[in-house]
């Protein structure tokens, strides 16, 4: 399995990358961690003419908290987020997610923003970003930056608001309030498997409410069948996991006994 021929360009700044995209045209693609793009190229499902590699742009690798949110740069690997001290203290949903994405080897390379841009329906980061009401900053070909709410960023499976010649530079997760918690649950066939099912929730205590949420989740879940499970199973698991996620989140707020 060898990719179709392609050219390679290493960018050293965001401007450099955006200019390269403009120069190389429609078939140029950004290469972040390569954990989704390279396999797709090896299967020849993706055939970019040029790869614009952003791994050498040091200024993009950061996790910082300011103005009521956590900003994660496009160069930040899953592993860096998973081990950032801030996360374990305040961003429990991000902590759960980053520990469940793929396996430790993939997390050393894969980026959070790359996962959002890839927007695989079985991916973990798009789900968490949706639940956490994240925002994504995008650099346009003209050099301007626009910020898009996650609901608008996620357009469809494998499609995002990132346009031709554009590059996502940062994702921002709002800092949770003290009465807010989260929990991320996932069913996988083995460690590092894409999610068969995953959900999460905010808090509001009572067993009945949890049961109602479970039923609702089962109802609104609209999964596709694959080797990970049938529609029927996935819908049922949406309910089970919502229940567990709510109970888990509540437990973190000190409200026990609802599991």
């Amino acid at each position: 399995m060898f990719p179709a021929p392609f050219d390679y360009y290493r960018a050293h700044s965001v401007d450099d990358a955006v200019q390269a995209l403009a120069r190389f045209g429609d078939d140029a693609r950004i290469l972040a961690g390569g954990q989704s793009l390279i396999p797709a190229m090896r299967f020849r499902l993706a055939r970019p003419s040029v790869l614009v590699d952003i791994n050498a742009i040091d200024e993009l690798a950061y996790v910082r908290e300011s103005d009521g949110h956590l900003a994660v740069g496009a160069g930040t690997r899953d592993f860096a987020l998973e081990t950032a001290p801030l996360i374990a203290q305040r961003y429990l949903l991000l902590a759960d997610t980053s520990a469940l994405v793929a396996d430790p080897v993939v997390r050393q390379m894969g980026t959070v923003v790359g996962s959002l841009c890839h927007n695989d329906p079985a991916g973990d980061w798009p789900v968490t970003a949706l639940a956490a009401r994240a925002q994504v900053s995008i650099r346009t070909p003209g050099g301007a930056t626009r910020t898009v709410a996650i609901d608008d960023f996620v357009v469809d499976s494998y499609t995002t608001a990132v346009g031709t010649g554009e590059m996502a530079v940062e994702v921002r997760f709002p800092t949770p309030g003290t009465r807010t918690s989260g929990s991320y649950q996932k069913i996988e066939r083995k460690v590092g498997d894409f999610a068969a099912e995953k959900l999460l929730a905010g808090a509001k205590p009572s067993k009945d409410l949890i049961r109602a949420a479970m039923r609702e989740a089962e109802k609104i879940a609209d999964p596709s069948p694959d080797n990970r499970g049938s529609v029927e199973y996935k819908k049922a698991m949406a309910g089970v996991l919502v229940g567990r996620a709510i109970a888990g989140a509540l437990e973190r707020l000190g409200v026990g006994g609802l599991k």
Partner: protein
């Protein structure tokens, strides 16, 4: 009688956990695998595959591929047919296999054409440019569809049926009569699903035809290099002395590297025609979709018993899916391999087994995946069957087994299906397992848990393996008897080189072979170099699979070493100035009888063999032995799994797993333990996540490692191991072979444990793999029935 390793007398080299001599090079990345070999002017082959499971090939247009700079040749089935190289014999000789699809493609991913180019990338680009026009045909996806003979798959065969063979063993009328007369009787359709060994290193070849010397050197990922040399000679007509097969370091085989694959042939043909080396290394998808799969046995298992739980009869009727060609790697006399081991560890007064095999639009294979031919299937059938019977009798599954074990006094035990089991002490092995795991405590805990609706299960498997093919009078490949061989040369300074006809793929022969020879000769195993895999230097052997290396080549090694000792004795007598009759081998040296302290070591003898041999004898110290074992060996084991099942999601957690194995005399406990760990991990994968499945159009659903799951350290349970030792009475060192026991013995322990957990819900059987959804569905359906 069974003993533990601790009870055995101290030995010179045997029974020691010597570190593996091969590991420093593997750990440092200095192994030399097929793909590490690069020859000058080498070209690369890429294959074109059929997207359809069944299709007529209307035309193949090579022109675009040939126009791509760097492409040197495009080869199709028609080209091979013109060269009379289109068909390959299969090992048992009952069928033949197409090299490249010709006329019709018979399974998805079947090889249709080959493109040879100056680089791997160009070869892949060229393969994309080969234009094949197909006319899709209706596929046969299951053997049950094939059985109807509405579509006939193989127009090339004279008999117009998809039925390949019927094979049976035992007394049908008697078994059926006994079943009818039994007080208690069970029947279950049990599937051993199609799975794949998926060695980490895929298959490959580098063929190098040297037109100047007229010799063809074939580097290949081969578990049986000599057999492959003979096969190449038979297929191509090149005299065998002009063919040199080299199997370099092999990254896992598990049976997958026993057959000859189309890529090997096409690369070789290309090298012969073009006159430069041609390499082909398959991708993961090619490995999973086209090379030897395993199992795919649909087994109807029936057992009869008395009310007290004494088994009276066994009948197993199997429908086997062999794919598009009957390339199953089985000996000629045994088209269903050793399936006759299906009576397992139990004393059945009568039994009957039959197998009907069919062609389907799936890849050919039916290789033994880390087991002797068809033993995993057989073992799964009987161990599941016994559990289902125990449930019906409302008896503890261990108790039922104990009431039916073949007793240690009954060995050598002639089984009703024609094997003679060499030795075993099933009771002792099982008792040890029960003690270590704390069986009674676990049953108590389970009873408590059941009260609150928690699903905890304990599963046992007390299996008997049959390995070491093995007697040449019964077993062969391409007609060649399944003996094996060893050659030992001791150098003047007392070190030496040991060669065998086997070819390890991770089993540790470089260490264990040295230990066997060192034990026999009192030499240092660190100074015995072991070499395998080169047909120019190694003695002819049948290779490594079916746990046959230790039972067969291991015997050859010990007996070759004893020949050295015979000669050594003459030399020792000469050195001791005594008659040979007064010299005895004791405490790992030659001693003058009755004169304590008067002795010579093998090292001294070796030096004398070259510097001071007895006047009437040949100088030098070497020996060869070709060993045809008198019987197979029968390792056994008692495995126990403890699981917890999540009622809501169907997820299974393996809480504990214990394997107590009896593989006879142990050569290297650490290596045995490693083999057990690896095989258990594979058994775990088969039980819970692995299957090569097809949709109803015949599309393969598991074509890469995101869909064909291989467990890593992250999800693999913790393994507990122990052993008992019941030596094989006929093997020169009492060893039985172990590599495959854990793969044969473990799947049913996992499945039995999950079924035990689900027993309160009345669930008796779920076919592997036990995915969450299957378990969840069974629970949901059972709960619906109750409410």
């Amino acid at each position: 009688m069974a003993t533990t390793t601790d009870d055995l007398p101290a030995r010179h080299s045997l029974g020691k956990s010597m570190k593996r001599k091969e590991d420093p090079r593997f750990i440092r990345g200095k192994g030399r695998y097929l793909d590490d070999i690069v020859l000058p002017h080498m070209l690369y082959l890429a294959l074109v595959h059929s997207p359809y499971p069944h299709a007529r090939i209307k035309s193949i247009d090579k022109s675009k591929a040939l126009a791509l700079p760097g492409v040197k040749a495009v080869i199709t089935g028609e080209d091979l047919d013109a060269a009379k190289l289109e068909w390959l014999p299969t090992f048992h000789g009952y069928d033949k296999q197409m090299v490249l699809a010709f006329g019709k493609a018979l399974y998805q991913y079947q090889e249709v054409a080959g493109v040879v180019a100056t680089s791997r990338e160009i070869a892949s680009d060229g393969a994309e440019l080969v234009e094949v026009e197909y006319e899709p045909l209706d596929p046969l996806v299951t053997p049950f569809q094939a059985r109807e003979d509405k579509i006939i798959l193989r127009d090339d065969r004279e008999s117009k049926t998809n039925h390949i063979y019927h094979w049976e063993v035992g007394d049908k009328a008697k078994a059926e009569g006994e079943l009818d007369g039994s007080a208690v009787r069970i029947k279950e359709r049990i599937l051993s699903p199609r799975c794949h060994p998926a060695p980490l290193e895929p298959c490959g070849v580098l063929a190098d035809m040297n037109k100047a010397t007229g010799r063809l050197t074939v580097y290949m990922t081969s578990q049986a290099p000599h057999v492959h040399r003979t096969a190449f000679s038979l297929v191509t007509g090149i005299p065998e002395d002009k063919i040199h097969v080299i199997s370099p370091d092999v990254g896992g085989g598990f049976g997958n590297k026993v057959p000859v694959y189309p890529g090997y042939v096409v690369a070789t043909v290309a090298s012969v025609i073009i006159g430069v080396p041609v390499k082909w290394v398959e991708s993961r998808t090619e490995n999973l979709t086209t090379t030897g799969f395993a199992r795919d046995y649909h087994m109807d298992v029936e057992i009869g018993a008395t009310k007290e739980g004494k088994v009276t009869a066994l009948k197993v009727s199997t429908v086997a899916d062999h794919g598009a060609f009957d390339a199953a790697a089985d000996p000629r006399k045994y088209p269903a391999g050793m399936f006759g081991i299906v009576t397992g560890s139990y004393d059945f007064p009568t039994a009957f087994a039959e197998v009907d095999a069919y062609f389907t639009n799936k890849a050919p294979g039916g290789i033994a995946y880390r087991c002797s031919f068809r033993v995993t299937e057989a073992s799964f059938a009987i161990e599941r069957g016994m559990d289902i019977l125990a449930r019906k009798l409302d008896m503890d599954p261990v108790e039922l087994r104990r009431r039916n074990f073949i007793k240690k006094e009954q060995f050598p035990y002639p089984s009703p299906l024609g094997f003679v089991y060499d030795s075993g002490d099933y009771e002792a092995t099982t008792q040890k397992a029960l003690d270590i795991i704390g069986y009674d405590e676990l049953r108590k805990e389970q009873a408590e848990k059941r009260k609150s609706g928690e699903l905890m299960g304990i599963g046992v498997s007390t299996f008997t393996e049959i390995v070491g093919a093995g007697p040449g009078k019964h077993f062969d490949i391409l007609g060649i008897k399944m003996f094996d061989s060893a050659e030992i040369r001791i150098h003047p300074t007392g070190s030496g080189i040991v060669r065998a006809g086997t070819r390890h793929q991770g089993q540790g022969h470089e260490t264990t072979w040295a230990q066997i020879v060192a034990e026999e000769l009192g030499l240092d195993p660190q100074e015995l170099l072991v070499e395998e895999g080169d047909t120019d230097t190694a003695p002819y052997g049948l290779g490594t699979y079916a746990s046959r290396s230790t039972p067969v080549a291991g015997g050859a090694l010990a007996l070759a070493a004893r020949r050295i000792r015979e000669k050594g004795k003459k030399i020792a007598a000469h050195l001791l100035e005594a008659s040979e009759n007064d010299v005895e081998w004791k405490d790992y040296k030659f001693n003058l009888k009755g004169v304590p302290g008067k002795s010579v070591t093998m090292k001294e003898v070796a030096f004398a063999a070259y510097t001071n041999p007895p006047p009437d004898s040949e100088p030098g110290l070497e020996a060869t032995y070709y060993y045809d074992p008198p019987n197979l060996t029968f390792p056994n084991g008692s495995y126990i799994a403890v699981v917890d099942v999540d009622r809501e999601t169907g997820a299974v957690i393996v809480r504990r797993f214990l394997a107590v194995d009896d593989c006879g005399v142990v050569i290297n406990p650490m290596i045995v333990e490693g083999q057990i760990h690896g095989g258990l991990t594979e058994g775990f994968a088969m039980a819970f996540m692995q299957e090569i499945a097809f949709d109803e159009s015949g599309n393969n659903l598991n074509t890469n490692f995101t869909e064909y799951l291989v467990p890593t350290a992250l999800e693999t349970p913790h393994w507990e191991t122990a052993n008992t030792v019941t030596p094989s009475p006929h093997h020169p060192i009492g060893a039985k072979g172990v590599g495959e026991s854990p793969n044969v013995g473990s799947p049913q322990a996992f499945v039995n444990a999950v079924m035990d957990a689900l027993a309160p819900l009345g669930i008796t059987h779920i076919d592997m793999p036990l995915t969450r959804e299957k378990v969840w569905r069974a629970i949901r359906d059972a709960e619906a029935k109750v409410s």
